[in-house]
Amino acid sequence: MSRVKVTIDGQPFEIELTLLPGQNGRLKAVVNGELVEVIVPEVQGREPIEWIMVGNRPYELSFDANLRWLRAYDGLHALEIQDLEAVVTRPVSKDGRVKAPIPGLITRVMVSEGQEVVAGQPLLVLEAMKMENEILAPRSGVVQSLNATPGRGVNLGEVLVEIV
């Protein structure tokens, strides 16, 4: 049995479900106390599911790698997932590390170590795909470490700034 809290577009749902091999993709989930019947593909490994039937409604889905959003036929939905079984929950949004979202070249750095920043403030400019991309602060705080200088090439996922 797993218990998960999913907040989708700001609306919270508490979900209980059991996933076992050999269910032939059929399972029952309890959502906010209500029982729903679900059919999903029998997927092996870590690939997220591509479709689901809830009751008699089919959906095609795609998730981003960090399960921060999902796309259904009507567009994007923001997700926040909390594992109610886990001892320590660490919502993704508290992470103050800014990683390079794309490989590229740093062209400008607008902050320095120890500086106070507010969420959404431009930290640096990363040039990639012929575009200058402003990298913004994911949260407010103080720049604890800065691993960026103009002219430096960076790899995907490299931590550039940490805000605490």
């Binding site: 479900l17 689901i52 997932i81 794309i102």
Partner: protein, 492 residues
């Protein structure tokens, strides 16, 4: 007609051109940079060559050399890269290889944006107020004085510009210096020429393009107009034809102006004249694009004219057989540019490998793309991955079909701006066809989606299952470097 044509481009437009050549029975030659060898335009071509120069698709000398070596009759430049380089076109002319585009002297005449505006103005055509001088980085004082004289808001443009690059809208004197510095830098990188000029901004405005075809014997027709007002940083995101809510007088006025301008500049081949339209319905000549444009499929859908085929035939010296009275604009077409970028994360580029890539289908749906499942979407080129174009008998059928086609388009592996269109298409201004360039900045982005509660509930179940599956599949492992000690990483 040509026997062998070299395609000096990549991505969506190169695929379009290679297909046109094969439709016409012309041998197609593709080029690729080392990282691009699995790209679709290469796979579909009859013959292919690697570019070894670090300049890649921008290296006119190497490309011309390959064309000569393989015996190509002509070079198709697509858009971007070498499409509007007068020096490259001249080199082709001297080598006796046809450049599928305008002659070098026409491009040279257009490459001075200020010159083109003033020539049109002298001929009695309305243009936006602009600086008569070009500015280098050291001329900031002069530029500032000129900006005061023109008044704000104004637009900074690159003299060598195009494709919206190095273009900045400045709303007050405060932001001028920073915007000018950025524009100089971007112009230098993109065009190799950092000169800028200023134009009085027309806000709010609509972008109306007129599609033209002309042969070298002076025959010229228009194929109606397109509306490209939905833009982000001056790159058109969505285009539709015809332009909504134009009166018959406005339409005939803008089409007539386009023909006048084309004759004035001795325009030949396939191209577009761009106009700005202000709140009062006045048109101002903005630019001539003497090449095929990203938005050409919407015109193809409403006129049933294959523009790339026409372009190749006109370049081969064929006489234009299409007469103005034969041109019929039927129904309505719309096209969205699907970019590999994340609209909910400051539009950051989102390169990667396409895992699932299932195109929308059904009648009157067309997708131009270089993508396929397993295809790599690289970082170093323009982010345009696909164009979804649809046709309907009228605007409302067209809009419904576009909504459906976007819902059908399944892309995983990277983020695209596709969901952005899903929001914009439901905006009342867009549905009424009463939108301007301001629509992109509207409140649609932050407003929560109006999803029914049972839909959110069902999707929440899906997310919970995805989460549980992922964690079930994770086997606890200890990275090798931590095996010797008591390390704990709280973050990975």
């Amino acid at each position: 007609m040509f026997k062998k044509v070299l395609v000096a481009n990549r991505g969506v437009i190169a695929v379009r051109v290679v297909r046109a050549l094969r439709d016409m029975g012309i041998w197609s030659v593709a080029l690729y940079e080392a990282g691009d060898r699995g790209s679709l335009h290469v796979r579909l071509a009859d013959e292919c060559y690697e570019l070894t120069s670090p300049l890649g698709y921008m290296d006119g000398a190497e490309i011309l050399d390959i064309a000569r070596r393989v015996g190509a009759d002509a070079i198709h430049p697509g858009y971007g890269f070498l499409a509007e380089r007068a020096d490259f076109i001249r080199a082709c002319e001297e080598a006796g290889i046809v450049f599928i585009g305008p002659p070098s002297e026409v491009v040279a005449g257009l490459s001075s944006k200020i010159g083109a505006l003033e020539r049109a103005q002298r001929a009695g055509l309305a243009v936006a107020e602009h600086s008569s001088q070009a500015f280098r980085p050291e001329d900031f004082d002069l530029l500032e004085a000129e900006a005061e004289a023109l008044g704000f808001p104004l637009i900074i443009k690159a003299c060598a510009g195009g494709r919206g690059r190095a273009t900045r809208v400045v709303r007050s004197p405060k932001g001028l210096k920073k915007a000018v510095e950025q524009a100089h830098a971007e112009a230098k990188i993109v065009f190799g020429d950092d000169r800028l000029f200023l134009e009085r901004a027309i806000l709010p405005c609509r972008f109306i393009d007129v599609q033209l075809l002309g042969d070298r014997y002076g025959n010229l027709v228009h194929l109606g107009e397109r509306d490209g007002s939905l833009q982000r940083y001056n790159q058109k995101l969505l285009a539709e034809a015809p332009a909504p809510n134009l009166t018959a007088e406005q339409r005939s006025q803008v089409l007539g102006m386009a023909l006048d301008i084309a004759r004035l500049f001795n325009f030949q081949g396939v191209g577009t004249i761009e106009f700005l339209m202000d709140r009062e319905g006045q048109f101002y000549f903005s630019e001539i694009k003497p090449r095929i444009q990203v938005e050409h499929p919407v015109t193809e859908m409403v006129t049933r004219v294959d523009l790339v085929k026409e372009q190749i035939e006109l370049a081969a010296g064929k006489r234009l057989t299409l007469r103005q009275e034969d041109v019929r604009v039927e129904g309505w077409a719309m096209q969205c540019r699907i970019n590999a970028e994340d609209p909910w994360n400051n539009f950051l580029p989102s390169p990667g490998v396409l895992r699932r890539f299932r195109l929308p289908g059904g009648p009157n749906v067309r997708v131009d793309t270089y993508g396929y499942s397993g295809c790599e979407v690289p970082v170093r080129y323009d982010p345009i991955l696909a164009k979804v174009a649809v046709w309907g008998q009228d605007r409302s059928e067209c809009l419904n079909r576009l909504r459906r086609a976007l819902q059908d388009f399944a892309i995983t592996g990277l983020q695209t701006n596709l969901p952005l269109y899903q929001r914009i298409l439901d905006e009342p201004e867009f549905i009424r066809g009463e939108y301007t360039t301001q629509l992109i900045w509207g409140s649609w982005k932050t407003r929560p989606a109006q999803s029914p509660p049972e839909l959110l509930r069902d999707l929440a179940v899906a997310a919970a299952i995805a989460y549980v599956m992922r964690h079930r599949a994770v086997r606890p492992t200890v990275p090798e470097r931590f095996q010797s000690g008591w390390h704990r990483s709280p973050r990975w």
